[in-house]
Symmetry: C2
Subunit: 132 residues, 2 copies
């Protein structure tokens, strides 16, 4: 899925692991090399909850379940590739072992109270989640 | 926007007016003639909040603002046209006068505790909202 004439839908997951926020270091543009929440595009025929659990598994190795819907982020300028809306879930029930997947060059565990600059609007997403 | 190879994004609004839930009677298929929440497809370059306020204005004549995100409904079978996810907001601050718009043949004011069969999964959406 790539952004086109219509807005595309992505999902991103907020996962805590040993007191840290699980992020990936992006292997690809845009924002290559920057930390980002695990996530990706919704596929045809899957629910958003299934999609975010799948993306977190593929990118981090962790088995999770959705805990709650955090928000929908739809600023047309949030993704330089085009209009991509992100549906963000808090995930829990963590199992599995951390292991970087296909779209991640590395996994980074972040102190959520002292975040580096993240890709897209992910700093804003995490800040809103922490203050909710 | 029409459903295609990727999931499409729609928005739907929950608006109370004089103690009743504002619905439209669908002029077009699918579910022609059935009551539905006011809503429609997200356009390229607009936020989901702007989209739901616009759709409610176009379909009902009411001026509203978003109060809170109610949920994201993404069952691939919820729309017979294809995979359309719906992002649902509760709206308030109602102004303007009720007036059926382009995609609505009529406006219907429903008792939210005694709903008729609605289009798509809109009964489920309203039930979840009332029980939250």
């Amino acid at each position: 899925m790539r952004p086109g004439k219509h807005p595309s839908v992505a999902v991103d997951g907020l996962v805590m692991h040993d007191g840290k926020l699980v992020a990936i270091r992006r292997k690809n543009e845009p924002f290559r090399g920057m930390p980002a929440l695990p996530g990706g595009f919704l596929e045809l025929g899957e629910t958003v909850c299934d999609a975010v659990v799948r993306e977190v598994r593929e990118e981090t190795g962790l088995e999770t379940r959705t805990v709650r819907l955090v928000g929908v982020f739809s600023d047309p300028a949030r993704d330089p590739r085009g209009h991509v809306i992100s549906i963000v879930y808090e995930l829990g029930g963590v199992g599995g072992a951390l292991k970087a997947g296909s779209d991640a060059s590395d996994i980074v565990l972040l102190d959520p109270r002292s975040l580096p600059r993240m890709a897209f609007d992910h700093n804003e997403i995490v800040r809103g989640w922490l203050s909710a």
